[in-house]
């Protein structure tokens, strides 16, 4: 049911078709694809997609791992900490992006420029001066709780006896982390990173709300470019070709994700 539209996308990608021009539907072979190769916008969009995805996943996995380890150790109010921590993931992405943009980062009325004023960063217009940094920051804020939840579940399934044994053997905290904790939660980190990247590759909401792909094309990723081409330019064929490229990129990531998913299911099954 959901594969048929994609087949149609491939079909349309071989045609030149402007939705606003009557009778402009005609076969154009690989024109849309050859245009993709020469087009500056698509290269920028691919670059931005990869940059955004890699940095969001890297930061959120590292911070998520740290928070998960904190929540797995002896601390006060674990339950409440976890509850508050997952809020950014549950908040509607469009709402979260607007709150960041207008009430936290706005150079005139925002809280962050005010808090940073003692450091001489008072009037930094984050959204316009550092658009990609802003989008990455908001997405990291949103995806860290996701990573934290998955890694925490991994930590909690750890065998405590092994940790005790390591302590008895005189391993220090860093050794225990590197030799025991990290290998044990590795499958969970991988799963989180891969599932997360499948979502982050599709980032659209926060870009639409924060920067609208700009300034210029600085934060235009593939989904946003497709939106612009299809619904601002009404070039159905060209948009379809972009869709096909997006699918190819995602498929590469998804293949790894599914392999990880199946291997975890098999480990579970063996127990």
């Amino acid at each position: 049911m959901t594969q048929i539209p994609f087949a149609l996308t491939i079909y349309y990608s071989f045609f030149s078709w402007n939705l606003l021009k009557e009778g402009s539907f005609r076969f154009s072979g690989l024109d849309n694809y050859s245009r993709l190769l020469t087009d500056e916008s698509i290269r920028t969009a691919i670059f931005n997609t990869v940059l955004l995805t890699l940095s969001v996943i890297a930061f959120s996995v590292v911070i998520g791992l740290g928070v998960a380890m904190l929540l797995n150790s002896e601390v006060f109010g674990k339950g409440l900490m976890r509850t508050l921590m997952i809020a950014p993931f549950l908040i509607m992405p469009t709402a979260g992006a607007l709150i960041w943009k207008d009430t936290l980062l706005n150079p005139l009325f925002g809280l962050l420029p005010y808090l940073l004023s003692p450091f001489g960063l008072s009037r930094v217009d984050w959204v316009n001066q550092f658009p990609m940094v802003t989008v990455v920051a908001v997405e990291v804020w949103r995806w860290t709780p996701f990573m934290m939840l998955i890694i925490l579940a991994g930590l909690q399934s750890q065998n405590l006896e092994i940790l005790e044994a390591a302590k008895v053997d005189g391993a220090n905290a860093f050794q225990t982390f590197r030799r025991i904790t990290l290998p044990l939660v590795r499958p969970f980190i991988e799963l989180g990173a891969l599932l997360g990247s499948l979502f982050v590759v599709q980032t659209f909401d926060s870009i639409f709300m924060l920067t609208y792909g700009g300034p210029g094309e600085d934060t235009t990723n593939l989904p946003f470019l497709l939106y612009l081409v299809a619904f601002q330019g009404f070039s159905i064929g060209q948009a379809s070709a972009i869709g096909v490229v997006a699918v190819i990129i995602t498929t590469i990531v998804a293949t790894f994700a599914l392999r990880t998913l199946f291997s975890i299911f098999q480990v579970e099954g063996r127990r």
Binding site: A87, L90, T94, L191, M209, A254
Partner: protein
């Protein structure tokens, strides 16, 4: 004795230190949400002041403003789209998951793989054809189109999730029921549904989260009549520093259902997000 009391004190100190660090990190992550709530309780001049207002007398005026204005239809559309699609997913996914676990059909693994691969297809892959289809069926700006789209988006997830719960039911239960002469329908209503109630909860939660917060299709397929809550927020993009309190109130209301559902069903959340792989 002395050694153990030193150990004990060290444990307490380390607990306090890590608690402080932990709460600091959690505070930073939760702060934007807290700030959204605070802004929503301010008056407009307080919300757009420089320096920002920290101390103020809370007011619900902006909530009243939002609720008495044009927001409710958007909220209702969101409810129809997400609840409708969640129900459809449950109705369709339960038999499918049953066929793939309790009474496995041929080539189960391939079917599973096919199912889940559709969830991983980017929205970009199907946007154009679905848009043209909706246009030709006169379903643009019709909430029914969103119900159908969200159903297809969430269906693979539902099948996987429910299957992971079904696999946990011991086979003996079914054997016993069949020996007692229970038919398929009885088996389903008396054994399957009660035992996988947590699974149904997890599936509903995940479907609700994804469909309630969905924006890409909503912004392209609706304009006014069928527009959902996130579309309402788009109207604030151009509002240059004039409606922060109203924006915060609307954002709070729009986020509330998923936030509450996610908080209540935290245990189901992790399992749902990983499609049943992580418990």
């Amino acid at each position: 004795m002395i050694a153990s009391s030193v150990d004990g004190r060290r444990a307490v100190i380390s607990k306090v230190v890590w608690s402080v660090v932990g709460w600091l990190v959690v505070f930073i992550f939760f702060f934007p949400v807290l700030w959204m709530w605070l802004e929503s309780l301010k008056t407009e001049p307080q919300a757009a002041s420089s320096p920002p207002t920290i101390l103020f007398a809370p007011t619900l005026a902006e909530f009243q403003e939002v609720l008495s204005g044009d927001f409710p239809p958007f909220f209702i559309n969101s409810a129809i789209a997400s609840i409708g699609s969640t129900l459809l997913v449950l109705i369709l996914a339960l038999p499918a998951a049953y066929a793939l676990s309790i009474r496995p059909v041929k080539r189960t693994r391939d079917v599973l793989f096919f199912f889940i691969s559709t969830r991983f297809l980017p929205f970009a892959a199907s946007l154009v054809p679905l848009y043209l289809l909706a246009r030709d069926l006169h379903l643009l700006d019709n909430i029914f189109a969103l119900v159908l789209i969200y159903t297809t988006i969430n269906l693979p997830l539902g099948v996987w999730l429910l299957r992971s719960f079904l696999l946990e039911i011991p086979n003996d239960l079914f054997e016993a029921a069949r020996v007692d002469g229970a038919g398929f329908f009885r088996e389903l209503t008396r054994i399957v549904v009660p035992l996988i109630a947590p699974g149904i909860a997890a599936t509903s939660l995940i479907c609700l989260i994804f469909s309630w917060n969905e924006f890409f299709y909503a912004v392209n397929f609706t304009s006014s009549v069928a527009a959902t809550a996130p579309i309402f927020l788009v109207g604030f993009i151009s509002g240059r520093g004039l409606f922060y309190a109203k924006l915060a109130a609307a954002a709070t209301l729009a986020s509330l259902p998923v936030l509450l559902a996610g908080w209540i069903a935290q245990k189901q959340l992790i399992r749902g997000l990983t499609m049943g792989a992580v418990k």
